[in-house]
Amino acid sequence: MTTDTTTPAGAVPGTATGPAPVTGAGTALETLTIAKAINRALADELAADEKVLLMGEDIGSLGGVYRVTEGLKARFGADRVVDSPLAESGIIGTSIGLALRGYRPVAEIQFDGFVFPGFNQITTQLAKMHARTRGAATVPVTIRIPYGGGIGSIEHHSESPEALFAHTAGLRVITPSNAHDAYWMTRQGIRSQDPVIIFEPKRRYWLKGEVDVSADGHRGVSAFQAQVVREGTDATIAAWGPLVPVALAAANAAAEDGRSIEVIDLRSLSPVDFDALQASVEKTGRMVVTHEAPTFGGLGGEIAARLMERSFLHLEAPILRVGGFHLPYPPSRVEEQYLPDLDRILDAVDRTFAY
């Protein structure tokens, strides 16, 4: 449970913390949905490290309410894919104890809105354990949380609480937007020595994409880095998780108006890759940040403030935010008016050109 070695941020399987890299192995592309890519990542980590175990409500025989863990109990046994009691604080709190004993628990919280019974254990205990023991204890607990709206669901099933966790020192927060990233970021998150919260964009679970599952398929990219997913020169849209496809669609629409839009997928929300954002905004001079969570007190504001400090003289316009309103998540019949969409993002892009 103790470590005095400091590994680089986001050490990836096959590099700092993983097995020796297989060089020249080439690519091994498989077309998977995001859900299947996560399933594959969990299976590969269960197979690679006997200390890894999965815990959560209904993740065993049922395979989880989104079937992300389907088949894993049959393959690895009920001791390693544990159907837990229905108690989120218990899931997180016992995961901390297991980690103190040398295990590497991967806990599933069934829905975003149900993490709060475990919020105390995450923020007052899990996040602080390494610092309060002056580095003696490491608690490599991974918490997977399906998040976000747009699925027509009922109350507490569509929320985006990522800022609450990114705000808490000691936690890492990541969120993939495509199948390849979902596979590698899940594996990298599990291997981190820090507590990692993975927000999974539930409305994109069925989005298919090519996943390079070869040993060095991560291509040296850490889960804690942003990626430019579309290059452009006139303005930048920064997004994460479920809104990355919307941002890309907005960029494509803007291209029809002759505007070249760069899209950055943040991927990591703690740490935020400010260097990547700075490089982009200093190139384009304009930025729109979009997230489903309410804008007030959200990560968009933090990104805008930091880039103001870093890149003020490069900005052609204020950095604008497109996000949720300061409301409880609304009933799903009206959620389309709440969620950032292509038109609201394009409107913000237009406004950055009006200065």
């Binding site: 104890g97 602080k128 610092a131 023991t133 981190s192 020595q193 820090d194």
Partner: protein
């Protein structure tokens, strides 16, 4: 409307079925079920038990003095609960784990934590004064009941590590976890969830509830309408209420409970019926909510006096009991002196700088923390330059 404090009837009387082996006058009773667990109690162990209790009480008093003199931010007296802790500690094995709340001073000192390490938290120089692995005792936890889930998870890890062990090996090498909490924390949801998990997976955890009758100003009757040990039945395991001021009963019942957990029979709940003799913390004022009569009733069943009477009556204090008790008192004075010395030494360069918090918030590099640490160091260095200039002028 103004109420003068009116405590409920002093609860020195034990709940029905509670285990007491040693009367207040030091007389030992036979108990068919638990007396066999006193078999390992040699004269040396009895002397150690008393020594732990008496020296901890002296350190405890020094903690209060140090706080009153402005040397500690806060102190949490454990006076009155020494018997419960000494009995339990001597019944555990050295490699059993303790997950404390924040009033387990005797456990800490008994496990080799130094007074300086124990008081570092209250001095404000560290959140955790000792390395858990060195003492098989986790740091104090201030968010009540959170540690019970950590204890349960840790016990789950032990259970997984010991999968496939036969009964003989479990008895010889198995580890158990003591999950400490109190009557106040018993109302927290984490205690409930801990007991659900521990029962569902038959985990080797002993829930150790020190019912000291008061959660700051709220009496135990507000937390529960039944003896807390009875709650165990609702989870499907056994609970036992013990006279927490009887160190021998505490030893026997803890030894039994640890054996149950160690050999795979699952969790057990022990409720130590005791009394918080002092204030909740040095910031508390018990005169606002409880009576002098209640405090006096409990002082009459003080665990130290009871064990002293037993040691004198049985000859376990050696051929010259007065000498033994005088020696222990002198050890207490010496430990109190070292406590004061260690606390006063935790100042200036002996206090770990803020840099160490930056360096330990994450196990792996985090660019935001690195950026803020660089800024912080530069800012601090600026003051050093100013001071140097001041020196030159």
């Amino acid at each position: 409307m103004h109420h003068t404090p009116t405590s409920p009837a002093p609860a020195t009387e034990l709940p029905e079925g509670a285990v007491r082996l040693l009367d207040a006058d030091g007389t030992l009773h036979e108990d068919a079920r638990f007396t066999p667990y006193l078999a390992d109690l040699t004269g040396d162990t009895l002397q150690r038990m008393y020594r732990l209790m008496a020296t901890e009480r002296r350190v405890d008093q020094e903690g209060t003095s140090l706080q009153r003199q402005g040397q500690l931010a806060l102190w949490v007296p454990a006076v009155g609960q020494e018997g419960a802790q000494a009995g339990a500690l001597t019944a555990l094995r050295e490699d059993d784990w303790i997950f404390p709340t924040y009033r387990e001073h005797l456990f800490a000192l008994g496990r080799g934590v130094t007074p300086g390490q124990l008081l570092a938290l209250f001095r404000g120089v560290a959140h955790a004064g000792w390395a858990a692995e060195d003492h098989r005792m986790q740091p104090y936890t201030l968010v009540l009941a959170a540690q019970a889930l950590h204890a349960t998870g840790y016990a789950w890890g032990i259970s997984r590590d010991q999968a496939g062990w036969d009964a003989e090996r479990r008895r010889a090498e198995g580890q158990v976890v003591l999950a400490c909490y109190g009557d106040g924390a018993s109302s927290e949801g984490d205690i409930h969830e801990s007991m659900v998990f521990a029962a569902s997976y038959d985990l080797p955890v002993v829930f150790f509830c020190q019912n000291n009758q008061w959660a700051i100003s709220v009496p135990a009757a507000t937390q529960t309408r039944v003896p807390l040990a009875k709650r165990a039945a609702g989870y499907g395991f056994e609970g036992v209420t013990v006279d927490g001021n009887d160190p021998l009963a505490m030893h026997a019942v803890t030894a039994w409970a640890a054996e149950q957990a160690r050999t795979g029979a699952g969790p057990v709940l022990i409720e130590a019926h005791t009394f918080r003799g002092g204030a909740h913390t040095t910031a508390d004022d018990p005169t606002k909510y409880r009576t002098r009569a209640e405090e006096e009733a409990w002082a009459a069943v003080d665990p130290l006096a009871r064990l002293e009477a037993h040691l004198r009556a049985t000859g376990a204090a050696g051929p010259d009991p007065d000498r033994f008790f005088a020696d222990v008192a002198a050890e207490g004075e010496e430990l109190a002196r070292r406590t004061r010395e260690a606390v006063l030494a935790m100042t200036g360069d002996a206090v770990a700088p803020l840099d160490t918090v930056f360096e330990t918030v994450y196990a792996e590099a985090h660019p935001l923390v690195a950026e803020e640490l660089a800024w912080h160091r530069q800012w601090q260095a600026g003051f050093a330059d100013t001071e140097a200039e001041g020196d030159r002028s």
